[in-house]
């Protein structure tokens, strides 16, 4: 059979011979997965603000068995809410057969206070992923005991400042090899500070403009299990924000990780790493703080990636309905241009309020596509608007070079329905190399989306061992060179599978692959590991200076 015949057969196989492409993602129901978690949002007639914020989701491997597990946050007791039944977060162990087992109690990660977000990473460099849970209350650092259990080490770590925290990011801002921690804080809040926002005598959730801003936290990892609060000294804590999503990336390719923070109803922050332990907030100068009319939008989910392949990290922010989401193209001079109009993102997102999101290459053609989950924060919005809905669709955008095209229901059944979505994490749950998606729904069951492998393209998976945020992966496949910076954080309240999946297009072999590791603080550039002729469609792990395994 010639090339044309092979291609035709493949097309017929993928389309079922009827011309309709097969879905890209399928829903995995709780009856199949045994993931029976249901988020309790503590919904009250008073409509306290934190009710509308969670939950977050983490995809991470807690037991180092090579299979990704799932963690969800849940509400809990606080000044405005005393649950009738005890509530807890949930950890599901991957049984490697498409099912999961709830091991929350056994693992000791039930949480406390009012759970909101989660970020997983190996902060103590022992080779086991730890968990940081943000709360309305006091956050929690769970240290992995390397035996399937965790210990709450918040107090000895010095991470116990109370507040209304949202997304957190593990990243090494000072290049000392240890992961530091950014913890986003939303508005200044307590039950006594709650506002009245009634419409026709019915209380709705208040617009965040009604509350005062509050600074976020940056903690430096001392390397001995404890952290130092460097919020003030670094400059991060000098900015009064209402932070939701955050992502660490390197916007100027200077080797120092910068931090982009989305704020709701006040300007976004872009913290440029000065390389001396401090950050300069350049959101206005970089043109990512406001919309083109000078209005602060309602920034929620974020991500950073080089979507146009020019070697520069671009930014994405999911905003509130009518604000249009922002896709900021990096101009290369520490400033950005919002390309929402040109790319079609603006028109496609005008009616939605976006939360969790991720740039990822779902079709393995080498460029980065995008998934965004949505949902209006006001569950009563339909009583006051005929145009808006509480539940909103998930948007899957295919990167077609000059524009992003929303695939809609063609991507699968899940994309034809509406959800009260919040957190979103992307990861390969069944180790088939294809990225799956987990979405946390506010006051509802989560959504597990399994990639159906409906693409003929090839891939390579790369697990970088050790502190890898800031590493640049460059590869060539079929003569096409591409690169990707390993970022940290992103999405909303959530934490992705740490492995990188690289799309190869039709190539069955990677011509070469190169990893430039983050440089130690006193060196200008990091070590480069390079490998030739790497076979496709499998995972490799790599330690700095080691071999692909």
């Amino acid at each position: 059979m010639g090339k044309f015949g092979v291609a035709l057969s493949l097309l017929l196989l993928l389309t079922g011979g009827e011309g309709t492409p097969p879905p890209l993602f399928e829903i995995v129901p709780p009856s199949k997965s045994n993931v029976n978690f249901v988020h309790n949002n503590a919904l009250s007639p008073r409509r306290y603000l934190p009710e509308s914020i969670g939950p977050g989701v983490a995809i991470f491997d807690y037991d180092n068995d090579g299979w990704m597990d799932i963690y969800f946050t849940n509400s809990g007791p606080c000044d405005f809410f005393q649950p009738k039944e005890p509530l807890r977060n949930a950890l599901y162990r991957n049984n490697r057969d498409g099912t999961y087992t709830d091991v929350t109690e056994k693992a000791g990660v039930v949480g406390r206070d009012f759970g909101i977000g989660v970020a997983a990473a190996d902060y103590n460099r022992d080779g086991w992923a730890d968990l940081f849970v943000t709360n309305y209350g006091t956050n929690i650092l769970y240290r992995n005991n390397k035996n399937g259990t965790f210990t709450d080490v918040t107090k000895e770590a010095g991470l116990g400042a109370p507040g209304l925290y949202t997304s957190s990011v593990w990243f090494d801002y000072d290049r000392d090899g240890a992961l530091d921690l950014f913890v986003g804080h939303f508005v200044k809040y307590s039950q006594s500070l709650e506002r009245k926002c009634e419409y026709n005598g019915v209380q709705h959730y208040c617009y965040p403009l009604s509350y005062d801003p509050f600074p976020s936290k940056l903690y430096r990892n001392n390397g001995d299990g404890a952290f130092t609060d460097v919020s003030e000294a670094s400059g991060v804590g000098k900015q009064m924000g209402k932070s939701f999503g955050a992502v660490a990336t390197d916007i100027n390719n200077d080797g120092w990780l910068d931090l982009f923070v989305a704020n709701d109803s006040v300007p976004n922050f872009l913290f440029l790493n000065q390389g001396d332990g401090s950050f300069k907030e350049i959101g206005f100068e970089a043109e990512v703080a406001f919309n083109p009319d000078g209005a602060a939008r309602s920034g929620m989910g974020v991500d950073a990636a080089d979507y146009d392949g020019d070697g520069l990290e671009d930014l994405f922010v999911a905003n509130f309905n009518r604000e249009r989401f922002s896709i900021y193209r990096n101009r290369g001079d520490n400033s950005f241009s919002d390309e929402a109009g040109q790319t079609g993102i603006g028109a496609a997102t005008q009616m939605f309020s976006g939360w969790g999101l991720r740039f990822f290459d779902f079709d393995f053609d080498g460029d980065l596509d995008l998934i965004v989950c949505n949902g209006h924060p006001d569950d009563l919005i339909e009583a006051v608007s005929t145009t808006l809905k509480h539940k909103e669709p998930i948007l899957l955008f295919e990167n077609r070079g000059q524009e992003f095209v929303n695939l809609g229901a063609a991507a699968g059944e899940a994309f034809a329905h509406d959800y009260p979505a919040r957190g979103l994490a992307v990861g390969d749950l069944n180790n088939d190399g294809y990225p799956d998606v987990v979405i946390g729904n506010n006051g509802a069951a989560p959504l597990l989306l399994h990639h159906t492998r409906a693409t003929s393209h090839h891939w390579v998976g790369l697990s970088l061992i050790g502190q890898a945020a800031g590493a640049r992966i460059t590869w060539s496949a079929g003569g096409v060179k591409r690169s990707r910076l390993k970022t940290a954080g992103g999405s909303y309240l959530s934490s992705h599978d740490p492995r990188e999946l690289l799309g190869l297009g039709a190539a069955k072999t990677v011509d070469w692959i190169e990893v430039r590791w983050p440089a130690p603080s006193k060196e200008r550039s990091g070590r480069v590991d390079r490998f030739e002729k790497v076979a496709a469609d499998r995972y490799y792990s790599l330690k700095e200076g080691g071999k692909l395994q």
Binding site: C197, Y199, H204, Y205, C206, Y207, L209, F284, E285, E287, F290, N291, P292, D293, G294, A295, A296, R297, F320, R322, E323, R324, E339, A340, G341, Q342, T343, G346, A347, A348, Q350, M351, P377, D378, I381, V384, S385, T386, T387
Partner: protein, 285 residues
């Protein structure tokens, strides 16, 4: 939670300039019952009070008129206008709905209902009456204009563009293209990243109304996009001198702060940035 938005154009564009319903003919008046004639007289009194901006007295007269004749459409529409002026969109919509039911063949009633829904950010319900108004009165540029705004708000950019085009065509046929139409259309094209086409429209708006603050500001924004910073500053400074319209001083200071910063004039950028930050936030999106 309710995040109301300012309408894209001042309410006054339609609210205060829209013509009152034509006077009843003498023959019509003679065919009416005494009750209907009394109602008509009260309506005429209310209309006069409205034009004198004595709104409370006008509303009282209208309520009396409608008690005598609940089917008096001019009274219903005038009551709706008064209700809109005090943000009682529920009352306005009910009055206009009744007017549409009584006189389903009158385009202006449908237009006012659509307009009222649009101003109340009720875009989904604004669309059908505006479409009906267009059917009944296809040559009304104003209807096409508000259809365009509504379609734009519903994220139907291509349909909005067609309506803006039709509105401009009808305005041209009528002898006067409105700068407001050109600016609104240009703003849509700006959000779509179609800067060249947007600038062509703004240039036409400036030719039609050289002292339009909105058009000066939009020209400045477009010049900033193509990195013509000095020219953007010129347009921004001129916009600041012009009477306030839809564009706020805060927006103009934001434009000037960016343009000065980009052109390396840090002190001037700081001055405008401080003024921008001191001004009340805009909700314009």
């Amino acid at each position: 939670m309710r995040r109301a938005l300012f309408p894209s154009l001042p309410l006054a564009v339609c609210f205060f300039t829209a013509a009152f319903p034509a006077a009843f003919s003498q023959a019509t008046a003679q065919s009416q019952s005494p009750r209907e004639r009394s109602a008509l007289a009260l309506y005429q009194k209310a209309a006069a009070l409205f034009q004198q901006r004595q709104y409370e007295q006008s509303l009282a007269a209208l309520d009396e008129a409608l008690k005598l004749n609940p089917r008096l459409v001019p009274a219903l529409t005038l009551k709706a206008r008064l209700a809109m002026a005090v943000n009682r969109f529920d009352v306005a919509k009910a009055s206009l709905q009744r007017a549409v039911e009584i006189e389903p063949g009158v385009a202006d009633n449908h237009f006012l209902l659509g307009f009222c829904n649009y101003v109340d950010n009720d875009f989904k319900n604004a669309l059908p009456p505006l479409e009906r108004s267009r059917q009944l009165k296809p040559d009304d540029a104003r209807t096409h204009f508000y259809l365009a705004l509504t379609l734009e708000a519903l994220a139907r950019a291509d349909d909005a563009i067609a309506s803006y085009e039709q509105s401009l065509k009808l305005e041209k046929n009528g002898g006067a293209i409105l700068a407001d139409t050109l600016v609104a259309y240009a703003r849509l094209l700006f959000t779509l990243g179609r800067y060249g086409e947007s600038e062509t429209l703004i240039d036409r708006a400036l030719a039609a109304a050289p002292d339009s603050r909105d058009a000066r500001y939009e020209k400045g924004r477009l010049l900033l996009e193509r990195r013509a910073y000095a020219e953007a500053i010129t347009y921004g400074k001129k916009a600041l001198e012009l009477p306030a319209a839809g564009t706020t001083e805060r927006q103009i200071h934001f434009l000037l702060a960016r343009a000065y910063a980009k052109s390396g004039q840090k002190e001037l950028a700081e001055i405008h940035l401080a003024k921008f930050r001191a001004a009340p936030p805009t909700l314009r999106r």
